[in-house]
Symmetry: C2
Subunit: 209 residues, 2 copies
């Protein structure tokens, strides 16, 4: 709630406010359950004005997903002060933190809303591509000319992390602690890149689960 | 084309015929481009009759995707005569064969149609689950009581294979041959299950790409 209903906001502020309200509603329930009517009501504007900013519900969901993707990428962005491999491990840690703190937003980003169309898939593919490129930069000294095996392994690893994290989030009884999950993800990273011809060393953060 | 137009077919045969026509059309173009009008025309029936079998286009796409999933699972089903690990490698080989022969059907299954809803996701999740269970049976002597790390690693590996195979299919210039792709997928399997605490041995099918 921003207090005063129907206050006139500059275009950009209104846009950001609607995304913020939508995001809170997704976090309280899910992307599929999001009602644009509820968003308009909580923002104190008419449905018509919401559709002025986002012509369809799908447009609104895509914008929400894009904002979540940007946030995830920003929060997991590598610290250039760190060694390439440490960047990789810190990125993984930040990734799991994001997932734990923003479960529904993350699931929305990874699985899309039921009925999510091409635009939503595009956000997802782009995000996966950025994460894969960061991995390649973490393990290769010449990321530009990375061989196919490394590019495939990096994309495969990102997909694998997504799937494992989603499975972990969905377990009714969380039998694996966050630190154990991280150790498993690290061990798979080490072994995957080694299998692709780019041996990397783990942080020795403990045996897998 | 089945020849005689508007021939009366028993319900089950008509159902199978429509799926077969739909499948051919997907293989000629893509799931997204599929027109139920074209399917009805090629099958020699009215649009109304098609919608009698599949009330919405989405229902038809889900049925096509389900049929593709069943076919993929049947063609990659493990041969009980083989050792568990050989089953795993043969399954991987059959999987890549399926993908190469049925590119569009495979992409439809993995990525869903743009706009694919909950039912399509459900087919996809179920297929991924069966493939992961087979992997667990391939590497563990007690698949029923598989520890979380192995379950996660198996699901992650299936996701990783999907992503790698889709990336490979999409490369404009195929720089990696089928055998090299298989060697990479095998190497990642060996290393992933070993990282999860279930050391497996590859077939020594050559160094990764």
């Amino acid at each position: 709630m921003t207090g005063g209903a129907r206050r006139r906001l500059p275009r950009e502020e209104r846009h950001a406010q609607l995304l913020e309200v939508g995001r809170r509603q997704v976090e309280r329930s899910s992307l599929d359950a999001l009602s644009t009517d509820d968003v308009a009501a909580e923002a104190g504007i008419s449905r018509g004005l919401l559709f002025h900013y986002f012509p369809t519900r799908e447009d609104f969901l895509v914008a929400l997903t894009e904002a979540a993707a940007e946030e995830l990428l920003a929060l997991t962005a590598p610290d250039p002060q760190l060694e390439p491999l440490s960047r990789l491990w810190e990125g993984l840690r930040a990734y799991v933190d994001y997932v734990v703190q923003h479960r529904e937003l993350y699931l929305a980003l990874i699985r899309g809303a039921a009925g999510g169309g091409a635009a939503m898939k595009e956000v997802f593919e782009r995000t996966r591509g950025v994460l894969a490129d960061r991995l390649i930069e973490g393990v290769s000294e010449e990321p530009e000319g990375a061989p196919a095996a490394l590019r495939y392994a990096a994309r495969g690893y990102v997909a694998s992390v997504e799937e494992i994290v989603v499975s972990w989030l969905r377990e009714e009884e969380r039998t694996v602690a966050r630190e154990e999950l991280l150790a498993l993800l690290e061990a798979i990273a080490v072994s995957t890149f080694t299998a692709a011809g780019f041996p990397v060393e783990g942080r020795g953060g403990g045996a897998p689960v």
